[in-house]
């Protein structure tokens, strides 16, 4: 008679080789692993250097960066604290330093004009890879009103600073050119002291969707195919996850759209070039856009998106983000279910 033993009752074979084979592996991106390269950092550097050589035009095209730097620095009003050492990452032409030295004028005339925010900041370290742009305004008045240190980075994606050496990190209008955004955010987190904020703003989402669609349609019709002319950008939904992955807590992410009107597509592209924000996508077609495509793109832009008065709108979507470095003594949310007051009662009393 044959003895039938069910498989499950058999003693488990022991030994390291089988145990290893049974271990489960998860797909994840190890730190230091390959990063998907989207932008060409050298092209970006060249474009910024080139933009800075024409000082007058470069200053004229700074309207967007100045406005966003102002909105970033106004967020300091919400934090009642002094910041002895602050890093401005990707400083462009030190727009944040300029914004910090300006008086804050409220649109409501009854609100008194507030003194500049530079009193809250001790030393501001402005870093960027483009030397020309960084030192463009080094001899202007605002340099004397704030303790400003400029430092040229060899590359934008490596921060050569000691861990826990800054009381705040600011960044305005430069993180949308970074290839390894998770890596840079993790580095920002590590150079911050515990319980210190990172306040950043970058272009994202639907920025320049009008230009993107018009050029796509024009290339499709004229040449039968398309090449990228506007960068792929991070979406609002991604940014929260990125900040969390980098170890930040108490996140705030919000967006705002700034719509600028231009006379035609050429004026928009000229301004983008003067800002140093022209196309630096790696997979792009080299050389200028053909004249036929430009002519067709301008016509489509006007027809598809144009305003009634003949101008064209360009949307810049700015993603603002705030994250805090974790600390033991930080305010934390209470435990779930520990609330004593019913919110419904309060809201219904009104």
């Amino acid at each position: 008679m044959r003895l039938i033993i069910p498989r499950a009752c058999l003693p488990q074979p022991r030994g390291p080789s089988l145990a290893r084979a049974a271990r489960r592996w998860y797909a994840f991106q190890a730190p230091g692993g390959p990063v998907f390269q989207v932008f060409n950092p050298r092209t970006k550097w060249l474009q910024k250097e080139r933009a800075a050589t024409n000082v007058e035009q470069s200053r004229e095209a700074d309207y967007l960066k100045d406005e966003i730097a102002r909105r970033v620095s106004e967020r300091l009003l919400d934090i009642k604290r002094q910041f002895p050492r602050v890093l401005d990452l990707g400083a462009n032409s030190c727009n944040i330093a300029r914004a910090l030295t300006q008086e804050i004028v409220d649109p409501d005339p009854s609100v008194p004009v507030m003194p500049p925010l530079s009193s809250k900041v001790g030393e501001l370290v402005a870093v960027g890879s483009s030397e020309g742009l960084l030192y463009r305004d080094a001899d202007l008045e605002f340099n004397n009103e704030i303790q400003l240190t400029r430092q040229v980075l060899r590359e934008d994606e490596t921060l050569p600073f000691e861990p826990e050496s800054f009381d705040m990190v600011l960044s305005s209008m430069s993180m949308h050119w970074i290839n390894d955004l998770p890596g840079v955010l993790a580095q920002i987190n590590s150079v911050l002291k515990p319980d210190s904020p990172f306040i950043g703003a970058m272009l994202g989402g639907d920025t320049l969707f009008e230009l993107r669609t018009s050029l796509q349609l024009a290339e499709q019709e004229r040449r039968g195919g398309i090449s990228p002319h506007v960068s792929p950008l991070a979406d609002v939904r991604d940014v929260g996850g990125l900040l969390q992955k980098a170890g930040f807590t108490m996140l705030t992410v919000d967006v705002e759209d700034i719509v600028v009107d231009y006379p035609d597509m050429f004026a928009l592209m000229e301004d983008l070039q003067a800002m140093g924000e022209s196309n630096a996508v790696l997979g792009r077609e080299m050389g200028p856009i053909g004249r036929d495509v430009l002519l067709a793109g301008n016509a489509i832009y006007k027809e598809l998106h144009g305003n009634e008065d003949g101008t064209i709108p360009a949307t810049f979507r700015i993603i603002h983000m705030i994250g805090w470095r974790v600390s033991e003594d930080q305010a934390k949310p209470l435990k779930r279910g520990s609330g004593q007051v019913n919110l419904k009662d309060i809201l219904e009393q009104k």
Binding site: L217, E221, G224, D292, L294, A296, I300, K302, E303, G310
Partner: protein, 60 residues
């Protein structure tokens, strides 16, 4: 010496003189922009380009 006008400025000036043709071309594309293929509006574009070339020549 007069400062040299950038080519893009001359291009924009010439293109702005052909707004009527540009509107016709734009309408041809926009009327059904989900099915754009090569040379879909080649007739309208050639009219726009002819006008542009004349305007660009006149500006020099």
């Amino acid at each position: 010496m007069q400062p040299k006008t950038r080519p893009i400025k001359r291009f924009a000036a010439a293109a702005s003189k052909c707004s009527a043709e540009a509107t016709v071309y734009g309408k041809c594309i926009v009327v059904d922009y989900n099915s754009v293929h090569k040379d879909k509006c080649v007739k309208e574009f050639m009219k726009l380009k002819d006008c542009f070339l004349v305007a660009a020549k006149g500006a020099k």
